[in-house]
């Protein structure tokens, strides 16, 4: 091949490269976490068995399950702290074997402890340096202020209470401008006020498009902030899905008397009907919950039914979790 033809061939090559780059740039970003078939045994005990899930960008995923379900082991495998026996992990689109996959990941361990001989500000500086991100000192201070440690920046960590160390851990997880944050039991040492702060923090992260993996025993906390939930039991995924998928359809419970057959037919027309004594439970149609209840009540009154009580019948995540754990693994 002569020089000129080679030169000619480069041009379209360059153009197609640019096109490929454009195509790549337009692709939706890879999920914050993708893991598949994770497995880990400690001696004879299987801690994690075939766990797969995805956390999308900007999504808050709750990890729930009883003690010893393998939640912390799973998290540690995602972060390269524990070597999986099998399975694959992609962090922000890179294989987790590559340490650089963690450059935009923040982590608050369940067992949080920071160098007691350093000050809070020095711990943050150390982590910024390890992360290889240039974060100005002002921003590091803001991060401490965000977790309520602004006035303790110059104090040694050794003198901190458990709760303050956990707050510092949150600041460490957030300081290097993460795109994905893993919080393992982030409120275990915090008072109710601190818990509310963490909840607000997670919601702020979500609003900023930062993905969060939240492992918490406090189901109410998970229910308030998470988009989706993965329930682990005995090392396996017992259930997973969005909150509405997991919690099922909404229901309304009504205490009525004077229900004649035509009223009962009206109730049954709304959705599946169950009756215990004078309590009627009706499943509400998807997407029409808001209008369905007042319409139903108005028509029942029109049919001469006396309405004593109307209650939303949505089951809580706690009831659902207990149900799943008691019934055993559901695929």
């Amino acid at each position: 091949m002569s020089g000129t033809t080679t030169g000619g061939a480069v041009q379209p090559g360059g153009a197609s490269l640019a096109a490929a780059e454009r195509l790549l740039a337009e692709l939706p970003p890879s999920p914050a976490v993708w893991c598949s078939g994770l497995r880990k045994r400690y001696g004879r005990r299987t801690a994690v068995d075939d766990v797969s899930f995805t956390v999308g960008r900007g999504e808050v995923l709750g990890l729930l399950g009883p003690n010893g379900a393998g939640k912390t082991s799973t998290i540690k495998m995602l972060l390269g702290l524990v070597r999986p026996d099998a399975g694959e992990v992609l962090l922000l689109g890179r294989p987790a074997r590559d340490p650089q996959s963690r450059s935009r990941v923040g982590y608050l361990p369940e067992l949080f402890r920071y160098q007691p001989w350093l000050t809070a500000a020095e711990v943050l500086r150390l982590h910024v340096r390890l992360a290889g991100v240039a974060v100005p000192v002002g921003e590091q201070r803001e991060c401490l202020a965000l977790v309520g440690l602004a006035d303790r920046a110059g104090d040694r960590v050794g003198g901190f209470s458990k709760g303050m160390q956990q707050r510092l851990g949150l600041a460490v997880a957030l300081v290097a401008r993460p795109e994905f944050v893993v919080l393992d039991e982030p409120t275990s040492a915090l008072d109710p006020l601190g818990r509310a702060d963490v909840r607000d923090l997670v919601l702020t992260l979500k609003a900023r498009g930062v993905a969060v993996l939240l492992n918490s025993h406090l189901i109410g906390e998970v229910e308030r902030v998470c988009d989706r939930v993965v329930i682990l039991d005995k090392g396996r995924v017992a259930a997973s899905g969005s909150l509405s998928e997991l919690l099922g359809r909404r229901e309304v419970r009504l205490r009525l008397d004077g229900v004649r057959p035509e009223a009962e037919a009206r109730l049954a027309a709304t959705g599946r009907l169950r009756r215990t004594g004078d309590w009627f439970t009706v499943e509400l149609p998807d997407g029409e919950e808001a209008a369905a209840v007042p319409d139903l009540v108005a028509e029942l009154v029109g049919l001469g039914v006396r309405v004593h009580a109307v209650e939303p019948g949505r089951i809580s995540l706690e009831e659902r979790l207990l149900g799943i754990l008691r019934d055993g693994v559901r695929p």
Binding site: L81, R83, R113, R129, G169
Partner: protein
């Protein structure tokens, strides 16, 4: 990238040593030992008033080796008990979790720790050793023939022991790793003494004990090289064959081959520690 991590961790290790009580305890112990040795050296001259300058220098050179052995022991104990906890302790307490979840290679963290500890141990040996030389010079007028080589060999001995401490701490508990490292250090020294006695008696089998132990753990070999660098070159000929195998005399300078072996030993043990640390679940 990796170099930055190594240096960051090395600086952190030095900062830890400086801020924890280790450094103050070590400084206190060293000052006490230096003061005692200053008093002791001044007594050599006073008690044995009839000594010629040559005799005083000989006595000074011998006692200097004895005192330097004390320092090498302090450095060995200090670094072996610092090396274990610094790694295994961080894993046990959970401090390592947040750090190793950063974009860092575990080997880089380990090498950083090692570098920080070597700097700490060497710094101690050089400072304390140099102070001791000055004391001996002032009291009995003796200055070792090759102080720099000697101090470098002592620093290398410290590096060998703390590398062993790091390897042990990746497999056993922090306290046990310190105890085992110091125990091995002592055993090698005793094996070296036994080997020296074997050599002076012309018993090859016993002499080999020292040779083998010096290969397995190079601390004793490096220590003997350091002694040789500290003592007056005429000392051996003046004392005569009756002092063959005396534990506080170095009989010959170290060969280049032995130094290369010691360097290789450190590299291999550090690599093993890196492998063990990389495979470890936290």
């Amino acid at each position: 990238m990796t170099v930055r991590i190594v240096l960051t961790i090395a600086a952190l290790t030095l900062q830890e040593a400086a801020r924890r009580k280790v450094l103050r305890a070590l400084a206190g112990l060293t000052v006490v030992l230096l003061a005692l040795s200053a008093w002791g050296f001044s007594r050599i001259d006073a008690e044995f008033g009839g000594l010629t300058t040559g005799e005083a220098r000989l006595a000074g050179a011998t006692v200097l080796n004895l005192v330097m052995f004390g320092f090498s022991l302090i450095a060995a104990l200090g670094t072996a008990f610092l090396a274990g906890p610094t790694l295994a302790g961080e894993v046990e307490s959970g401090t390592a979790l947040a750090m190793l979840a950063r974009p860092v290679r575990r080997s880089a963290v380990l090498v950083g720790k090692w570098l920080g500890l070597v700097a700490f141990g060497s710094g101690f040996v050089v400072l304390a050793g140099f102070a001791q030389f000055v004391i001996v010079q002032v009291t009995v007028g003796y200055w070792p023939p090759s102080p720099v080589t000697g101090l470098a060999l002592l620093a290398a001995q410290t590096a060998v022991l703390l590398t062993l401490g790091l390897l042990l701490s990746t497999v056993i508990s922090p306290m046990a790793s310190g105890v085992v490292a110091v125990g091995l250090f002592g055993a090698t020294w005793i094996a070296g003494v036994v080997g020296g006695i074997g050599g002076s008696l012309g018993n090859e089998g016993v002499a080999r004990v020292g040779t083998v132990s010096r290969m397995v753990l190079p601390t004793d070999g490096l220590w003997r090289g350091a002694m040789h660098a500290f003592q007056d070159p005429t000392l051996l000929t003046q004392l005569g064959p009756g002092f063959d195998g005396f534990p506080f005399l170095g009989e010959a300078p170290l060969t280049a081959a032995y130094l290369a072996w010691a360097a290789l030993w450190i590299a291999v043990v550090l690599a093993l520690a890196g492998l063990a640390f990389r495979r470890r679940d936290l």
